[in-house]
């Protein structure tokens, strides 16, 4: 089935929460104009709506220069 969450709206996006089992990889994204990046689970249905809003991937705080 399509992994593209066509029904996902911006308000549905939540910060990742702890889950049982293997944790999903996480990535740092920055919202347009934001001065601090946020960490999100690297799942298509989470990342794609954010990318559509103009979020871009940035280095995480521990990697930031």
């Amino acid at each position: 089935m399509s992994s593209f969450a066509s029904n996902l709206k911006p308000g549905d996006i939540q910060a990742p929460t702890a889950q049982a089992g293997t944790p999903a990889p996480k990535v740092w994204l920055s919202a347009p104009g934001a001065d601090k990046p946020e960490q999100f689970e690297a799942k298509d249905e989470i990342l794609l709506p954010l990318m559509n809003q103009g979020y871009i991937q940035v280095a995480g705080p521990t990697e930031a220069k």
């Binding site: 066509s6 794609l48 990318m51």
Partner: protein, 352 residues
């Protein structure tokens, strides 16, 4: 053996070619990474990049006494190019990251997944990430071609899957446009060729209601013949005042996206129960997803969130009755399409 004043003539097959793996700092900076982390690859088409310093003459000007030109004047620098390759996870990741302009890298099953979708010009502007193209023939003390073409962006790409036993079952064509900015000699030491991990049509898996006949997907139903996925940025080179010159010709100050367009077409065998015409009549729309794999963990995916057939034409393919389908790509609100490639490259395009 004969001797030649300029050395023996060069053959196109001697061409070495590499691209920035990650975006350049800006449109006017040839990445230093072209020498250390460049993506060097082979290609199928024989064309070198089409760099041109255009010039105009004064033939139409009044006052010379006749209609014949008396002088030429350099006008502007331009660059276009095309790369054709058998589809691999490496070239696909590069093409979607730079071509869509928005991508995210994450760890995935022993590889790196590069998830990309068309970027949002409302928040990110009209310019895509820029890259550098390096072309060399006999680099060193007696180069025939040795140039670094920076300020280049991907205008579009096309992926084709066909019914074939050969490597050409899956191909990609990438079109490039540049500002014409260049450095000669490039000063770049070519890295080793990046080994491609090819994604063949034989691995194709389909999902989504629009790629089905009688509720069975075309691959499972054994009716799938071929398909073409296309994406075009329709870039326009902007020559703004104050943009500077090179060799007397103006340089583009930006490559801006125009009316972007995604396309999808497919050829499938027409069978009893084929309902494509009915889908057009009913304005049926739905998702379409194509997954393809190479040696683990290398893989690729293209997903259209929503499409509808806008044309279905009965045709023949090698004597078999087929349907030629053309899609309208729709935006359900969350973006028209996405794609990903899983490869062993840590960062591609604008990924940090």
């Amino acid at each position: 053996m004969p001797t030649y004043p300029g050395g023996p003539a060069a053959r196109v097959i001697e061409t070495l070619i590499a691209f920035s793996q990650t975006k350049d700092a800006n449109i006017t900076t040839a990445t230093a990474a072209a020498g250390t982390s460049a993506f060097r690859m082979s290609k199928l088409n024989v064309d070198l990049m089409d760099y041109e310093l255009t010039a105009e003459d004064d033939a139409a000007e009044i006052g010379k006494g006749d209609e014949f030109a008396t002088a030429v004047f350099p006008v502007s620098n331009q660059m276009r190019g095309r790369v054709e390759k058998y589809l691999s996870s490496e070239i696909m990741g590069w093409a979607i990251a730079f071509g869509f302009g928005s991508s995210v890298a994450s760890v995935s099953g022993g590889g790196t997944k590069h998830l990309a979708s068309p970027f949002n010009p409302v928040t990110l502007g009209l310019e895509l990430p820029y890259l550098t193209v390096v072309e060399q023939i006999r680099p060193g003390s007696t180069p025939v071609v040795d140039r670094s073409l920076f300020g280049t962006a991907i205008d579009g790409f096309q992926i084709d899957f066909t019914s074939s036993p050969a490597r050409d079952s899956a191909k990609i064509v990438v079109d490039l446009i540049g500002t014409g900015s260049k450095t000669e000699p490039s000063g770049v030491t070519m890295p080793a060729v990046t080994s491609p991990h090819e994604l063949k049509a034989s691995s194709l898996i389909l999902a989504g209601t629009m790629l089905q006949v009688s509720a069975t997907d075309y691959v499972t139903a054994k009716t799938f013949v071929s398909c073409t996925i296309g994406y075009k940025n329709n870039l326009t080179a902007r020559y703004a005042p104050g943009g500077g010159t090179q060799a007397g010709g103006a340089l583009a100050t930006a490559l801006e996206v125009g009316t972007r367009a995604a396309t999808f077409s497919a050829i499938v065998r027409l069978v009893n129960g084929s309902d494509e015409f009915q889908k057009i009549t009913n304005s049926t729309t739905g998702p379409a997803q194509l997954d393809f794999t190479g040696p683990s963990p290398h893989a690729g995916n293209v997903t259209f969130a929503k499409l509808g057939w806008k044309a279905a034409k009965i045709d023949n393919t090698n004597g078999i009755v087929t349907l030629r389908l053309d899609a309208s790509i729709l935006n359900p609100g969350s973006g028209i399409m996405s794609a990903f490639a899983v490869n062993s490259i840590a960062k591609q395009g604008a990924e940090p």
